[in-house]
């Protein structure tokens, strides 16, 4: 059977963040109701690095030339996990992503993918986006390599290097 499990400790913080999308109050104002000592206060100050690269496991990526094979697998993951809400060319449920790397650092993009719940709760840039778009970005990807492949796909559409520059996700 198809199953995915994750350690409970990790889930506690996820649960805390999820509480923000279950209530009637505007999500940006919700606070974590679940018991998570690990969940940081929403008022916590961010470091300059966190402001720039986002909150999460990714720091100071060294990116080489675009790996087209990696970008292709990233496009497949993007189609399954992201395209319901993000298009390449246009705003949809979330912001367009064709030019996201001109707005954000690649570390920021990967941290947003892998650690969306905390980013939505704590990062002022993402909080502002939530106030604009209302739907908090769900965690769809937990695998570092998959997030990295999606980043490569976004790099490829940014530069037009992909053979299918629109991608399936942008085909609307």
């Amino acid at each position: 059977m198809n199953r995915s499990t994750a350690p409970v400790t990790l889930l506690l913080s996820a649960l805390a963040a999820l509480a923000a999308c279950g209530g009637d109050a505007p999500p940006a104002q919700s606070t974590a109701a679940a018991p998570s000592a690990a969940a940081p206060s929403s008022a916590a100050e961010l470091t300059d690095v966190e402001m720039e690269q986002g909150i999460g496991p990714i720091r100071d990526l060294e990116l080489g030339p675009i790996d087209l094979a990696l970008a292709e697998s990233g496009e497949a993951a993007f189609t399954t996990k992201c395209s319901a809400c993000h298009k390449i060319e246009e705003r949809y449920v979330g912001p367009e992503l064709g030019q996201v790397l001109s707005r954000r650092r690649p570390e920021f993009v990967m941290n947003q993918i892998l650690n969306s719940n905390e980013m939505v709760q704590r990062h002022p840039v993402v909080k502002e986006l939530l106030a604009q778009y209302y739907t908090p970005m769900p965690v769809q990807v937990t695998d570092h390599d998959e997030a990295r492949a999606i980043l490569e796909y976004l790099r490829s559409v940014q530069t037009g290097a992909s053979s299918t520059s629109n991608g399936t996700g942008g085909d609307r």
Partner: protein, 660 residues
Amino acid sequence: MSRTSNRSLYLIGALVAAGTAGTYACQGGGGGAVGAGDMASAAQAVYVAPGTYDEFYAFMSGGFSGNLTVMGLPSGRLLKTVPVFSQYPENGWGYSEETKAMLQTSHGFLPWDDAHHPELSMTDGVPDGRWIFINGNNTPRVARIDLTTFETTEIIEIPNSAGNHGSPFITPNSDYLVASTRFSVPIPNRDMSIEDYRGNFKGTLSFIRANQPDEMEIAFQILMPGYDYDLAHAGKGPSDGWMFFTSYNSEEEHTLLEINASRKDKDFVAAVNYRRAEECIANGAGGTSQVRYRHNHFDENHIAVSEELTSVRVIEPADCENLVYFLPTPKSPHGVDVDPTGEYIAAGGKLATVIPVHSFSKMIAAIEAGDFEEVVDGIPVIRYESVIAGEVENAGLGPLHTEFDGRGFAYTTAFITSEIVKWQIGTWQVVDRIPVYYSVGHLMIPGGDSRQPWGKYLVALNKITKDRYLPTGPELAHAAQLIDISGDRMRLLLDFPTQGEPHYAQGIAAEIIQNNQVQFYALEENTHPYAAKSEAETRVTRQGNQVHVQMTSIRSHFTPDNIEGIRVGDEVYFHVTNLEQDWDVPHGFAAMGAENAELLIMPGETRTLKWVPREVGIYPFYCTDFCSALHQEMQGYARVSPRGSSTPLRWGTGGTWRTN
């Protein structure tokens, strides 16, 4: 309509306490009330602070609800209802196309059953938290619930059985579950006079292989005299390899059993050597009975399939020497419970004044010595005096069920006197007793039927509620009571209501289950034939009058959310794939006018709702499970045109229409 005022209700409550409570009438209607200090200490004992977890999972049978309910102990909080034998519109169980087959039987699709005894899987005689099983009492079945998903994944029907009460008790390594027929019937079942019961109606004891998921099978059945077979428990330790079944109605009566089946002073516990059955069958004993029964389970796409089976192996005690022995047991025994060491077998004679406790080693010695008082239908009856270890006297009236604390004490429910009696193994002396409210049936100590009980709490599962809660009209929630058994004296901590009839329950330390939970299904592993694993894969196709909508849901929209080209009388199948890949984000799906339930679709899963629109119009559908701030926007429209209409089939989300 008959009404009762509050005041007369209290009077009734007092009468009940004085009446059914019988010997402990001194407790009064507010039974269990204690001093303020005791109350504070009881409250502290059951308080589970916000955001913290209970220490035990309790799995309560839903009884006549056909479900299993999951509660936390010591708080008594309801955590989940797991639908098993009954359709459950709350999540579409038995309504969705993927789950309907789970409720198929040889009698057709059955929307209900009566679920009595949850039984946790075991390894080495200790609950291991992999699965829990439960019986369907009315139309004989046994179900497996997977404890990583809390979902029923398999149901097997029991042929040659009627009233699967004595089930599904498990052997120490989950090799077998048993299913004993409460009602004896003609085997094979046929048209004959009920008056010709004696000698023609038979009982069966079925042994079901249980340790491979999706592969339950009936290994063999033992054909027994036409008694009522009631409950069972497996031996363990020295008695491993034996299964003990209670029976009553050894009078073989077919009417007014209340009187007619209560004439004899003793009925029987049947001791079955199932390893011996394996040997006999390996040597060719017994035959094959031609029957029809169903085995339902999920296939590799997580879609239930129902397979019809047509034969079962049946052996008779006469075919296999040393297979079954009868232990005489007073009087109309109900429960049969084996202590943690495996040496003692306590039987609750529901009309008896003592609790008889048999000794396994004495039983073996008597068998070796041929110490039998008679032979009934080819089954030797061991002399009572040769097998009994002790009788617990002054154990209350109507002793039913016993569980153990692992410290040398046993706890038995007394139905008629509404109390739990604690007694010592070996001395057979009652050492403590506590009234319960009211008319207790089963009791449960987490692991209390296993080799290693967690002897901290005891749950009394009471049959009568009366004045324990705020009244709710004629029907009241059933009552469970939590009792602290960690000290010398039992201490009542908490009353809590339950769903349906909490007939029996099982409990297990939370950590065995809680860290092993499936949180979502991986989309890339979804092999449902109608899955749409991305919005790019969504489509609507017509095959004759069938319309298949392959739809996705994600916070907070469906794709497609506009559908045209459906006609009156079409069979529309909404195959909804939940694209979310995170914990606790199910989406719901409901369509106006659907003669059906809703769907709840877990993240990564595909579930299908069938809808047959009867009139033209625009039909909204929407997400029923509050999912986000824009949940109320998660909606769509289906257009239904007249029969034969040429409205083209088209669909889309966000303003772009697609066609085939």
